[in-house]
Amino acid sequence: MSVIEVNNLTKYYGKALGIEDVSFQVDEGEIFGFIGPNGAGKSTTIRLLLSLIYPSSGSATIFGKDCIQYGPELRQDIGYLPSEVFYYERMKVIDLLKYSASFYQKDCTQRLYELAEIMELDLKRRIDDLSYGNKKKVGIVQGLLHQPKLLFLDEPTSGLDPLMQRKFFKLIREENQRGVTVFFSSHILGEVQRMCNRVAIIKEGSIINIQDIKTLQHDNYKKIRVAAPALDEKQFEFEGVSNLEKNNGTIRFFYKGDINQITRKISEIEVSDVTIEEPTLEEIFMHYYE
């Protein structure tokens, strides 16, 4: 069953484009990555799904129900961690979290304290005394305390130190193993690569590719490096080769196509070193954004 189903969703802010004709599905229990640079429309998509803003056209369903019409009901089971966290400055952390918990039908007290302990959050301090990273922790506890079935994470790791990031990812994985579906928006590819099953790449408001993260890495491109004493890069200028560059007697390029063709080509010349490897998501990503 699809937990999220987005159909031709379009949002214009006045004349400025937010997103255009975005469609995708997120299945139950998966961690769905959503990557793109700042301003590509990641937050717009999430805010539309939470009905913080309303679409210009198109529609979306969550758990099979329209996300606007059934918004309040659906949000009982949704957790949201915004990219920038802001809370009522004059409140104490514990009061804010209790206020947050008061919106949900179930009793969240136990989970609240559990999460605060995991994230090493000082509950007695006032929100306006907290550093950015600590506010982010408040956001994480606030987003998870009601044990949601669907999580929206909008660039969740900004402001967290590496140690906290690890704890956070562990927490998200545990939630996921309990069956929670995660919508993970980020511009940091490493973390998407580590966490996600599938990934959608968004550029200038449109989705340009949705793929299984393994397929994205395996089936597409190979990163090849050839070192040879006498090397002419013209030998490698054929179909499927891209980003060819040469320096210090080494050429590097990406190759997409029949792997035998390229190994035959390489075997024709006298080489001193060859490496063929998977490109990182970073490199694939850069390719999409050229």
Partner: protein
């Protein structure tokens, strides 16, 4: 209920400060009554010699400062200005504060509808205003009794005057709210609240100075002119109905605008 409680608590400090300030204002004015009343004859003679326009501006035409309520209605105008600023303040900040302090994302991602949010917030603001309202009632009666000396007054007229506060507050609360939803972003509440409150006051003051003018009919300072209520022992009903109509339109407009509103994002 949780939103109501939260909002009420966040607002309580401001309610207390406003209530104390307005009570103090009433105290200062009413305490002057005994010294005014002693020379009432002289004072009324002096008023007659004032330029007509000045008297109109302060709603003092035909006022008799030697009577308890004549004097009090003059003081009440200043209380009205304060009440207007307070109510307008709450109206303008009701929803806009969440967007300015970027807490709207937190609240609206919770499992509540926009209508429920707005209703809770309105009720919380109204509760605050009602506290101030009650304080004005108590301090009016108390200070009048303290300083009236051996003079008498008609309690019915005072009650009539004080009963007008609720509608008066609602006017500024709802108009402030609907304006805050019509503009894209309210960067600072105070200038808006001041502009609305003083704008309405000036309209009423200058409206009477310039004689027959339709414009003054939109301001609640005219609808609930203390001097008129005390002198006629009644409201100017057609004008009061204008206030009520504006309140209803602003309320309905606010609900429609808020449930359609696109919440601007933090970045």
């Amino acid at each position: 209920m949780n939103i109501y409680k939260h909002e009420f608590k966040m607002n309580l400090n401001s309610v207390i400060i406003w209530s104390v300030a307005i009570a103090a204002l009433i105290f200062i004015f009413v305490s002057l009554f005994s010294s005014f009343a002693k020379d009432a004859e002289l004072l009324n003679e002096m008023l007659v010699n004032f330029p007509e326009e000045l008297l109109l501006a302060f709603g003092m035409t035909g006022i008799d400062l030697s009577t308890v309520l004549g004097f009090f209605s003059f003081a009440f105008l200043f209380a009205q200005i304060c009440l207007a600023i307070q109510a307008a303040n709450y109206g303008f900040s009701l929803v806009s504060i969440e967007e300015r302090e970027l807490t709207a994302d937190f609240l609206l991602a919770k499992p509540v509808g926009r209508t429920q949010i707005l209703t809770s917030k309105l009720l919380a603001a109204l509760s605050g205003l009602t506290i101030t309202n009650i304080v004005v009632w108590i301090s009016s009666f108390a200070f009048i009794h303290l300083f009236k000396g051996d003079r008498t007054y008609e309690p019915r007229n005072l009650i009539l005057l004080l009963l007008s506060i609720l509608v008066f507050q609602l006017f500024f609360l709802t108009v402030g709210l609907v304006i805050s939803l019509l503009v894209k972003r309210v960067r600072s509440v105070t200038p808006y609240a001041m502009a609305l409150a003083f704008g309405m006051y000036v309209l009423s003051a200058f409206g009477s100075m310039l004689g027959e003018s339709k414009l003054e009919n939109i301001t609640p300072f005219k609808h609930f002119e203390p001097n008129y209520i005390v002198q006629h022992a009644a409201y100017n009903l057609p004008l009061v109905l204008i206030s009520v109509t504006v309140i209803v339109i602003s309320l309905v407009g606010s609900y429609v605008l808020y449930s359609k509103r696109n919440i601007p994002s933090a970045v």
